[in-house]
């Protein structure tokens, strides 16, 4: 399409004026600090983070299976969640007195991530979703966030995997293990199987965080004395429902999310409509990440 002719605007002058080379001392100091941290990391990658960040790393990245000296394996999924989640709750937590921990953890994470990104190691995160029965059979889902572009969802009934959906670089493959049929879809919009609908918002940590950020308003934060966990309560006034998220305060990642519907007519307790449990570093092999047990038993693949 032909571009319109500019109307008397000196874009070059405008850009140079607006984007002036005027780096303030404060910003320079902060960036210098980042550069120094980065250099330290690449010079001494085996150096353990201290006290609190150490716990943070352990919870985020696990321990025990990495090669010696590589203890800060990058977990893109966790960072994707955090970077959005922090936008949603960061300001609130800061306002109620958690600024240093937040900043320290997120800065530490990003610093190590920068270096660790060059060392790739398989790892995944798991989200178990329970949807209580509403006139039917309860549904359970196990979502494995394997890489930013690879997700596997198992639909379980009575602890048996009934269906599996793989999403890999935009392609969607659904396998019905009972009927032994599979289908390939070009994108998520083509999914007609209603069984997957409840979990389409959880297909990546980033999507989950975006969903919370966009649809829920943070109402309060509670932390028991000495506890490393806190509870964030969000509400959605339009739907009259609420969301309780238990967060690990060392990693600022969710441990549990529970969604409740509107309160009963007589002010009774709200009914839980969905429950999510997160495991951020489950042990497992590459094979177990990709293949559900049902498939391995049958010796089949996609």
């Amino acid at each position: 399409m032909k571009e319109e002719k500019p109307r008397e605007v000196d874009i070059d002058g405008l850009l140079k004026t607006a984007l002036e080379d005027d780096l303030p001392a404060e910003a320079e100091r902060r960036m210098q600090k980042r550069l120094a941290e980065f250099r330290t990391r690449i010079e001494r990658p085996e150096q353990e983070p201290e006290a609190r960040p150490a716990r943070f790393w352990q919870k985020l990245f696990g321990s025990g299976y990495q090669p010696a000296g590589v203890r800060w394996i990058f977990n893109k999924q966790a960072l994707a969640f955090l970077s959005i989640f922090m936008l949603a709750v960061g300001g609130f937590l800061q306002a109620i007195g958690h600024p240093s921990t937040l900043a320290e953890n997120l800065t530490g994470l990003r610093t190590s991530v920068s270096v660790a990104d060059s060392v790739r190691q398989s790892g995944f995160m798991e989200c178990r979703v329970h949807v209580p029965a509403q006139g039917g059979v309860p549904s359970d889902y196990v979502i494995r966030w394997i890489q930013p572009d690879i997700t596997r969802v198992d639909v379980q009934r009575a602890e048996e995997v009934r269906e599996t959906m793989w999403i890999e670089l935009g392609d969607v493959v659904i396998v019905d293990h009972l009927k032994k049929i599979s289908q390939k879809l070009a994108n998520l919009k083509q999914i007609q199987d209603s069984v997957f609908q409840p979990v389409l918002r959880f297909l990546s940590p980033a999507l989950l965080a975006e969903n919370i950020d966009q649809k829920w308003r943070l109402e309060r934060f509670e932390q028991k004395n000495g506890s490393h966990q806190g509870t964030l309560t969000f509400t959605n006034h339009e739907k009259g429902s609420s969301l309780r998220m238990i967060v690990d305060l060392d990693a600022f990642l969710p441990v549990q999310i529970s969604r409740s519907g509107p309160s009963g007519e007589k002010g009774g307790p709200a009914e839980e409509v969905m429950h999510l449990d997160f495991t951020w570093n489950p042990p497992g092999s590459t094979q177990s990440m990709m293949l559900p047990k049902t498939l391995k038993k049958n010796g089949g693949g996609r």
Partner: protein, 205 residues
């Protein structure tokens, strides 16, 4: 200097779980990569990022992202005919990405600013608030440009890089860069046409 970072990975397999293990093999070049190539560019990197994001927190994060990419691509940068331009491009891309994220966030948080006529004929007379609005409008417009176009425009117009250096950094021909800059300029002119720019025109490029 005890450098154990893996720059070349060989794989073995864990006998217990079958998981691939990475064995770290340090390359001597890594020892000097940062000192020789990146350290002299630190100031340029910081400034280039700042000029785009213009917020200390965002600048920090964008710098971090840029460093991650630079480190991941260090072999490419080492062999590149113009490492300086490539590093600049990486920094500008990281800055634009941060900008886009911020804009997405802001667009959800606040009502969009109404476009007002600003007179930037004399920047020193423009009040702080108006100055901020000007910045915001320009940054929003840059964030709307396609990634490659934004990098070409910023490298050419803001950082005065020669076309051949930009072409090398972007991995395309000089002609393509000229087209990208021209299209980017035209788009920005259209989107920012409500800003009256009477500042002295630069030489025709």
């Amino acid at each position: 200097m005890d450098l154990r970072l893996a720059s070349q990975e060989t794989t073995g397999r864990c006998g217990e779980c079958g998981r691939e293990n990475l064995v770290e093999i340090p390359l001597p070049d890594d020892r000097t990569f940062y000192e020789d190539l990146i350290a002299p560019l630190e100031s340029q990197m910081m400034r280039s990022i700042w000029r785009v994001v213009r917020q200390p927190e965002l600048a920090e994060d964008a710098l971090q992202d840029a460093l991650a990419i630079i480190w991941r691509k260090r072999d490419l940068i080492r062999r590149h005919p113009n490492p300086r331009a490539l590093a600049l491009k990486i920094c500008l891309n990281a800055a634009c990405d941060s900008l886009r994220k911020r804009n997405r966030f802001l667009s959800r948080q606040t009502a969009s600013l109404s476009a007002q006529e600003l007179d930037i004929s004399d920047p020193s007379d423009v009040g702080r608030q108006e100055r901020k609005r000007l910045e915001d409008e320009v940054l929003r417009a840059i964030a709307r440009l396609p990634k490659k176009q934004a990098a070409a425009v910023l490298m050419r117009i803001v950082h005065d890089q020669p076309y051949d250096a930009i072409a090398k950094a972007l991995g395309c021909s000089e002609v393509t860069v000229r087209i990208q800059v021209s299209k980017g300029r035209a788009r920005l002119s259209r989107w920012l046409s409500h800003l009256r720019a009477d500042s002295p025109k630069e030489e025709s490029r």
